[in-house]
């Protein structure tokens, strides 16, 4: 079921109403089974695959604490093989087999590529990561296994985060499910606000930017100018940000309607002044997951076990470059089985390494100056990172990047004038909203100026709600569904 649909809004209304009427135990059953219904609305035949992952990790984690050291490892291996096996089959089999065939053919073999029609189960990258983290945490002794299957099932399948995150840790969610949460009108209204905000970002902004981005990326690259490359990278950067943060807002809001709190997943990422800062602000739960379950173990550093903080705390270790490179390649491949995503990962590694090298030059300057310079440098660099994310092939992405270094390519514009205008407005609007939300609103949120605070918020909602009403339609899927 997709969030930007009437079906979801009706579904949510029913679930929230029943949830607050039900007893504690019934609530858990309601969440578990409604989550299966939510998932089944996409394709019912993929529910068993998800349940397989849920059941295997449930059983494995129950037996891990009771087992001897060697057995523990074997059980962990069972969990990893199951989850990564599912992920490999559905997401990477075609990619790796075709890549292997391509390499063999390059060396003279004559092998036909595999023609398989494998449908990627929606959300598989998210729920497998969540179940893996659960079992690994039990293995590490960080959490006790949950014996109540339904409660554990609620943690993995909880519908707001099931198909596109945030990637939650058991420690953050299971304790919330363990108690009967008292009804709070504040939760309801705060949840509604987040949903409204998310729907606005999705149906009004992301979905209306999408055709411009599609049009732009369909241009042949030889006809594209450097200004077109810049514009498209910014435009897609905003599209993917609005789209994905919209999903997170709606997920957080939906959970809040049920009294469950999720950690934040986005925090104005394009205001970042360094790569480290960016990953503290973009898809925070994933970068924290990667930090705790891939990078830190690979680099032999103690894990942190919280889905906040991003990858930041890890990137300071310059000796761990090899782990860093591997981590970013995995991060790239997590997003999609394509060399373009590997290229995206490599771009980020290079950015981090360059940052480490050059940031020392600015240590004598004041924090605010470094911050401003950081934003000015990081914003275009981060936007350019989206080029391989959206390109049809790595060659296309590289060709587009090359254009920006050729000064002769700055002479023409290949798209309608509106495209450049909209991109410019988005950049300005992003910073204006950032200032209002992060600087002005917190200052107004006190007894003295509460009237101004309410007026400002009212203005926002009066602007957003009619537009959601007018533009609401399941026209486009969320981009992160494909990951």
């Amino acid at each position: 079921m997709i969030f930007n649909s009437l079906t979801y809004l009706l579904f949510l209304l029913c679930i929230v109403s029943l949830y607050w009427l039900f007893s504690y135990r019934l609530r858990l059953y309601l969440i578990f089974f409604s989550s299966l219904v939510f998932y089944g609305f996409w394709r019912i035949e993929f529910i068993p695959i998800m349940l397989l992952s849920v059941i295997v990790d449930y059983l494995v984690s129950i037996y891990i604490p009771k087992s001897a050291k060697k057995m523990k490892k074997k059980l962990l291996l069972v969990s990893l093989c199951t989850n990564l096996g599912l992920l490999f089959y559905f997401k990477y089999l075609i990619f790796f087999s075709n890549s292997a065939v391509g390499i063999l053919n390059f060396f003279g073999a004559s092998i036909d590529p595999l023609f398989l029609n494998i449908i990627l189960p929606i959300g598989i990258s998210f729920y497998t990561f969540q179940t893996i983290s659960y079992t690994v945490d039990v293995y590490r002794g960080l959490i006790k296994p949950e014996e109540d299957f339904i409660l554990y099932g609620c943690y993995v399948t909880f519908f707001p985060q099931l198909v596109a995150g945030p990637v939650l840790r058991a420690r953050e969610v299971i304790p919330q499910f363990k108690n009967r949460i008292p009804f709070s009108i504040l939760d309801i209204f705060e949840g509604l606000k987040r949903i409204i905000y998310g729907l606005f970002l999705k149906v009004v902004l992301a979905d209306n930017i999408a055709p411009l981005v599609d049009d732009g990326f369909l241009m042949s690259i030889e006809n594209m100018s450097a200004l077109d490359v810049w514009t498209l990278s910014f435009l897609f950067g905003f599209q993917i940000y609005f789209d994905f943060s919209a999903y997170s807002h709606i997920a957080i809001g939906s959970a809040r309607l049920l009294g469950i709190r999720f950690p934040e997943n986005f925090n104005f990422p394009y205001i970042a002044s360094s790569p480290r800062d960016f990953w503290r602000r973009w898809h925070i739960s994933l970068s924290s997951w990667i930090r705790d379950y891939i990078y830190l173990p690979m680099a032999n550093i103690n894990v942190q076990n919280i889905s906040t903080g991003g990858i930041s705390n890890a990137v300071g270790h310059t000796k761990k470059t090899k782990s860093l490179v591997l981590t970013w390649i995995i991060m790239g491949l997590w997003h999609g089985a394509n060399w373009t995503f590997v290229l995206w990962g490599i771009y980020h590694v290079i950015l981090i390494i360059l940052y480490r090298l050059f940031s020392r030059l600015f240590t004598s300057f004041s924090d605010s100056f470094r911050s401003v310079i950081g934003i000015i440098i990081m914003l275009p660099l981060m936007m350019l990172a989206w080029i391989p994310f959206r390109s049809q092939s790595s060659q296309d992405a590289i060709q587009m990047w090359v254009k920006i270094f050729n000064f002769n390519e700055y002479g023409s514009l290949g798209m309608r004038e509106n495209t450049y205008l909209i991109t410019f407005i988005l950049v300005v609007a992003f910073f204006v909203v950032y200032v209002i939300k992060s600087k002005i609103m917190p200052k107004l949120a006190n007894e003295k100026s509460i009237f101004k605070f309410i007026v400002l918020q009212t203005l926002f909602f009066s602007f957003m709600m009619p537009l959601i009403f007018i533009f609401l339609k399941p026209g486009n899927q969320f981009i992160y569904f494909q990951f």
Partner: protein, 381 residues
């Protein structure tokens, strides 16, 4: 009973107030929409009237998508009294009459009547801002459905700034014959690639296709439409918002119909390739082609970059004017007084703006006469 404390009140108040203001604003915005207002007419300007010709309920000029095209074709197949079918493809210039008065006829109707007397049947299809890629697609589709003997094809500098295939023509790309024809050309392959890329981009095709949610969503949508008119009219509301944004843009940046437009190289090249592809395809099928540069008002400075426009004209004129292809420059055939004006396209402006695309009924007469002359010269009738 739940007691509202201050933090709750601070949270609830903006949402409630916002909801009330939203409803009121939406209502006021909604009642301003004229149910009789045709969005097509809105697109061409309110001084222009969408006029689609038909004779004895037989449609001879259709505007819209594939469905409308098929309506016209079906009428021809049923009532068509001539084997010599002439096809005229174009943009809103063909279906709009500026300062319309009762009894006014479009060039397509006038020409149809004239050709009828020569035992020829004229079918016209036009779409606002139709680009040559769309014409190419439509031509391939139609030439495989009906025996066309001649094609009349206007080239409009403005429309070379457009690209892509609009939604209501997309179904043409499902026809195997059309796909085969497109694959024979570079531009055809680009159109197909674009289509396939759009399909393959998850998130940009219908996300509910083939899902269990599809039926439920449709049911809920229909239910809301039957309960609340405003729900069904959301597309009109969307159109109105976009129109207001367009006016706001024009106002804030001082853009008018007279503002100079430059060519957009990528789109321009693709459309010129489509033009060549149409001509090549027509020649292979032994269909005569009359390509003409459309009339433009010559009493004021034209709103195009002159270098770009002159380059465009010389490129069109230098097309291979031999065999079955005839090139004509009809830029100056519509006198200044036949051109109209249109309501301001900017917020708060009361000044009528020049219309560079649409002319009155006399202009239509002039156009049909010129085209008839050109056809006559070619066909010797």
């Amino acid at each position: 009973m739940y007691r509202l404390n201050r933090p709750v009140l601070y949270s609830v108040a903006p949402l409630f107030l916002g909801l009330i203001i939203s409803f009121a604003g939406l209502y006021l915005f909604y009642i301003e929409i004229d149910p009789n207002e045709n969005l097509d007419e809105l697109a061409i300007g309110s001084e222009n009237t969408l006029t689609l010709a038909s004779i004895d309920k037989k449609k001879i000029h259709c505007e819209g998508g594939l469905r409308e095209v098929n309506d016209c074709i079906n009428d021809y197949l049923i009532y068509g009294d001539s084997d010599e079918l002439i096809l005229w493809l174009g943009n809103s210039q063909l279906h709009s009459i500026n300062q319309f008065q009762l009894g006014d006829e479009t060039a397509s109707l006038i020409l149809h009547k004239k050709l009828q007397s020569k035992d020829k049947y004229l079918l016209t299809f036009s779409q606002p801002n139709a680009n040559l890629q769309e014409h190419f697609l439509l031509f391939e589709y139609l030439s495989n459905r009906v025996p066309i003997t001649e094609l009349i094809l206007p080239v409009v500098f403005d429309d070379l700034r457009e690209t892509g295939i609009r939604d209501n023509l997309q179904d043409i790309l499902k026809h195997k014959v059309v796909i085969r024809e497109l694959k024979n050309t570079e531009v055809g392959n680009k159109i197909l690639l674009r289509q396939n890329t759009n399909k393959s981009l998850e998130g940009h095709n219908d996300p509910l296709d083939g899902t269990e949610q599809e039926g439920v969503e449709e049911y809920l949508n229909n239910a809301l439409e039957s309960m609340f008119d405003i729900w069904g009219d959301r597309s009109a509301l969307r159109g109105k918002i976009l129109l207001n944004l367009y006016k706001f843009r024009n106002w804030s940046l001082g853009i008018t119909p007279s503002s100079i437009r430059k060519k957009i190289p990528v789109r321009y090249n693709m459309n010129m390739q489509a033009l060549s592809a149409i001509i090549d395809s027509a020649q292979r099928k032994e269909i005569k082609v009359l390509v003409y540069i459309v009339p433009i008002r010559n009493d004021v400075k034209i709103p195009y970059n002159l270098n770009d426009y002159n380059d465009f004209k010389s490129k069109v004129i230098s097309l291979d004017d031999s065999g079955l292809v005839k090139i004509a420059n009809m830029e100056g055939i519509v006198p200044a007084n036949y051109w109209g004006s249109k309501k301001p396209t900017s917020i708060n402006s009361k000044v009528q703006e020049l219309d560079f695309m649409h002319f009155n009924a006399d202009g239509h007469k002039a156009l049909s006469n010129e085209i008839f002359k050109a056809l006559k010269a070619e066909n010797d009738f």
